[in-house]
Amino acid sequence: MDSSTTPPIGAITTENAQLDVTLEQLKKLVSPRAFTGETMLLNMGPQHPSTHGVLRLLLELDGETVISCVPDIGFLHTGIEKTHEGKTYLKGVPLTDRTDYLAPMINNLAYCGAIEKLMGIEVPLRAQYIRVILAELTRMNSHLVWLGTHALDIGAMSMFLYCMREREDLLDVFELVSGARMMSSYFRPGGLWRDVPPAFFDLVKKVLDVFPARIIEYERLLKENPLWKERTIGVGVISKADALAFGMSGPSLRGSGVNYDVRKAFPYSSYDHFDFNVPLGSNGDVYDRYRCRLDEFPQSLRIIKQALDRLPEGPVMTDDRKIAPPPKHEIGTSMEALIHHFKLWTEGFSGPNADVYFAVESGKGEYGVYVHGDGGPKPRRLHFRAPSLCNLQALPRMAKGALIADLVGIVGSIDIVLGEVDR
């Protein structure tokens, strides 16, 4: 190539642009200055540790300032929604663990809730309360991983170790009830797999005893830390109106001061029986989102304590034999139970030809399941409303004008899980 046709250094040509987009599409995504070499296009991820998984960001930089940011997702796409179309309603539960893999119990709850709503069945109160306890523990688990990694991104190394240490206490509870630390699949359409073992109560009480002091420790490390405040206050601001327009939810939305929590607005699984507050921010910056999440720890503990104190006795599975598998002892003695058992594990139960939407408040935001039955035992369509996807969609707005070092903090502050974004 002779010098007269050589483009300026850093300018985009078809040869150097390994961008997965055509030049025409790229023109709509970045400013015209990128094509003259005035600004630089830089690829961040998908293997970057601060992207919390495999998120790729195409950044247009002017010096260290982000001019535009184009997220590229899909590296973890596994076709979970399609796979659901080939599974009966009962067999779909383990797949939901794998969407937001930091909050499996909450995903189970959303899925089971959607199936229960579709079938029109009631879950026994004991099962609802146990679901609430485990969902709140899961929320704490999700927030702990977020707090550890978010602090690590910004440079507070020790946070990560403390958070992982505390997380073990929660994983022990999950392991006790379901046998698995992470992919629990403990909730089933109609109730729970089995009742909790007696040791469960001691373990949860231990969590309730230990955690309040630990949360104060976390706050001491970060809340008034001048370095932390310097890095987070006024960074990645998103206004109330923008946050709503982008469909953000969860602590990321509440950091902007919008009081929306699915547990309060559309209560499910007896959340209306418990007293708790929804922490709100006001500025919509990284610090307020951090405050909102951290303030949710004591509220979760409050809910768990109430649910534990008022836990009713009784069954943990609906007695509707068309949905709940019969107990083992009945199969040996009752012909009807044997038939139900056989039908459930071969064919499954059939849902109506209609659609429902059921949403729960996960650690990230509103996690919803839209299920459309086709009259048979498998759904015609099952769609996950992933909070991380909508929260991530607002990232370009928050990142605009930020420094590239702050971008790492902003990505951490919206708490995305790529398994859920891509599904």
């Binding site: 987009v21 997702i73 399609k82 469909g247 607005a265 209609a354 769609h383 969609q393």
Partner: protein, 166 residues
């Protein structure tokens, strides 16, 4: 088939109201969906487009349903808007001008169902690679491609696998 107050305020824009398990679904046509969503946002306080997806009813016609879920924080309620598309048209107007959150959700529907959104600012594939051929959530695409292996057909299936002979 009760008529909700919402459907009455929208008048002719709504062709049918369905209620199932206390969830209200308003059915409209694809030409009117932008107007319905705008009116619900501005006049009825539905501030958030929570979800947007599609359903494939193959081989029935109309084949696709586009499903919009709106949430009102102020009135604490949800409403679902649906419009149906024939298998031959596979296109609908974009609502990304009404709700910014529709941008990626429409891209996902385009990616997985092949439904075009007219006027969309950036209609590219989102979760699948750019050189992917086809749209996997269509019902023509089988859920399970690999044959189930038994003793009588195991050899044949194994021989056809990519890493056969290793």
């Amino acid at each position: 088939m009760s008529d909700s107050p919402l459907a009455q305020s929208l008048g002719d824009l709504i062709t049918e109201t369905r209620v199932f398990r206390d969830e209200v679904t308003l059915i409209t046509t694809r030409e009117r969906v932008v107007e319905v969503l705008t009116r619900l946002r501005d006049g009825e306080h539905f501030e958030v487009l929570t979800d947007l997806t599609a359903v494939d009813f193959h081989p029935a016609e109309p084949r696709f349903a586009l499903v919009y879920l709106l949430t009102s924080l102020q009135r604490n309620m949800r409403v679902r808007i649906k419009c149906f598309l024939n298998g031959s048209e596979r296109a609908a107007p974009t609502v990304s001008g009404v709700f910014a959150s529709a941008n990626w959700l429409e891209r996902e529907v385009y990616d997985l169902f092949g439904i075009h959104f007219e006027g969309h600012p950036d209609l590219r594939r989102i979760v699948l690679p750019n050189d992917y051929v086809g749209h996997p959530l269509l019902k023509e695409v089988p859920v399970q491609v690999e044959e189930v292996s038994f003793t009588f057909n195991r050899r044949r299936i194994e021989a056809g696998k990519i890493f056969a002979g290793e």
